[in-house]
């Protein structure tokens, strides 16, 4: 809801506070990412806001990236992963402050957009508003990077996915957030399969994490509708920045 998922908090919490090996933390985080994304996507898909064709097409990029990322994670040392994680945290925190312009690209769209039927419409109070997308290749590449990071770090990479759709492909904001959510589950499933097979997903650790995050997501969606999101976002970003610095520091000193 604040634009940043649970994984970005969960992994530093598990590694820094509970001293869990980062591979286990990533495995548990992936599980929670699938749970929350699938739960939320169920609601969005029903509302007809998310663009399923666009999501499906971009999932080719994210799943391929996720497989690469998950394979990388197995060979990189925990300190290196921690440092990359810290860097990505900082970028995500900054991205969450970008102003969302309300994009609307109308008209025919490019030949590729028409062939792939990426244009669609979304519900507004005045009825369904049609739109189309731009820069398909650019968005595709950025989605691939988002997939790699998701597989490597066990996060949903929602911020980067929204960036790819919002600022590159120029889809309306409502559509990018919901479609991103819809894609996160599939992307995470691709890497979770690899983590499960390699034995990085521990049942004893993932069980409380998954159930806790699901309960939290349910409670959060109730509370957030009544709280001012902007101030909450600011607090959250500061927390993320502190965690990021901590992760990088520990990574440099090989204490993670």
């Amino acid at each position: 809801m604040t634009g940043l998922g649970g994984g970005v908090v969960l992994i530093p919490l598990l590694t820094l506070l509970f001293k869990v090996d980062i591979h286990y933390a990533i495995g548990a985080s992936l599980v929670s990412v699938i749970a929350t994304s699938s739960g939320a996507a169920a609601a969005y898909v029903r509302d007809g806001i998310s663009n399923i064709r666009l999501g499906m097409f971009l999932e080719v990029a994210t799943t391929a990236g996720a497989v690469v990322g998950a394979s990388l994670s197995a060979v990189l040392s925990t300190s290196v992963i921690a440092m990359v994680f810290g860097g990505v945290l900082i970028i995500s925190a900054v991205l969450s402050f970008l102003r969302h312009q309300d994009n609307l690209v109308v008209g025919e769209g490019s030949k590729l957009a028409r062939t792939l039927k990426l244009g669609s419409s979304y519900p507004t109070p005045e009825g369904r508003q049609p739109y189309t997308v731009k820069n398909i290749a650019g968005g595709f590449v950025l989605m691939n990077i988002a997939g790699i990071l998701s597989g490597l770090l066990g996060i949903g990479s929602g911020a980067l996915k929204v960036l790819a759709m919002d600022n590159v492909m120029r889809t309306p904001f409502k559509v990018s957030t919901t479609t991103s959510n819809f894609m996160i589950g599939v992307t995470a499933a691709a890497s979770a399969g690899i983590y499960l097979r390699k034995g990085y997903i521990d049942p004893g650790l993932s069980m409380p994490v998954m159930l806790g995050v699901l309960a939290g997501a349910y409670a959060g969606s109730r509370i957030l509708t009544r709280t001012k999101v902007s101030s909450l976002k600011r607090i959250f970003a500061i927390v993320i920045l502190v965690l990021a610095v901590e992760m990088i520091y520990n990574g440099i000193h090989h204490s993670i």
């Binding site: 509970f18 001293k19 869990v20 090996d21 591979h23 286990y24 599980v31 699938i34 749970a35 994304s37 699938s38 739960g39 996507a41 169920a42 609601a43 898909v45 029903r46 007809g48 399923i52 064709r53 499906m56 097409f57 999932e59 080719v60 799943t63 391929a64 497989v67 998950a70 062939t115 792939l116 039927k117 589950g185 599939v186 995470a188 499933a189 691709a190 979770a192 399969g193 690899i194 499960l196 097979r197 390699k198 034995g199 990085y200 997903i201 521990d202 049942p203 004893g204 650790l205 993932s206 069980m207 409380p208 998954m210 159930l211 699901l214």
Partner: protein, 124 residues
């Protein structure tokens, strides 16, 4: 007229996918919860060690050994099975989408969706 028909089918498909995702999350969390109770009953007083990484045993990673251990009444493999169900939920969604696009005769998207499915299953 033809676009009108496709729109209706799209929405039906979206409804089914929404239901499927909800059901998958619910089912898997119930299995995980059941396994969690079993696990805590057996091992609740032990302090687990996650500081250094040791790969999980076969029964937590592969469906067949996992199933055997569950029938044995073990809690942790049951959690692992619930987690596997959760991972399969988005994958099931993709399978449904393939069927949907086949019904719509949108063969371009049948190919795209099958491609996504192959990437995932290849690595599972």
């Amino acid at each position: 007229m033809s676009s009108e028909i496709r729109k209706i089918k799209d929405e039906d498909l979206e409804k089914i996918i929404g239901q499927l995702l909800r059901f998958g999350v619910l089912l898997s969390s119930m299995v995980v919860l059941a396994g969690g109770i079993g696990y805590l009953v057996r091992h609740g007083l032990q302090i687990p060690s996650y500081h250094t990484f040791t790969p999980e045993p076969e029964k937590m990673r592969r469906p067949v050994p996992m199933w055997k251990a569950i029938l044995h009444g073990e809690g942790r493999p049951l959690i692992a099975f619930g987690l596997l169900l959760l991972i399969l939920t988005p994958i099931a969604r993709i399978v449904f989408s393939i069927i949907g696009y086949l019904l719509e005769k949108d063969y371009l998207y049948v190919v795209i969706t099958v491609l996504v499915l192959i990437v995932i299953l290849w690595n599972l």
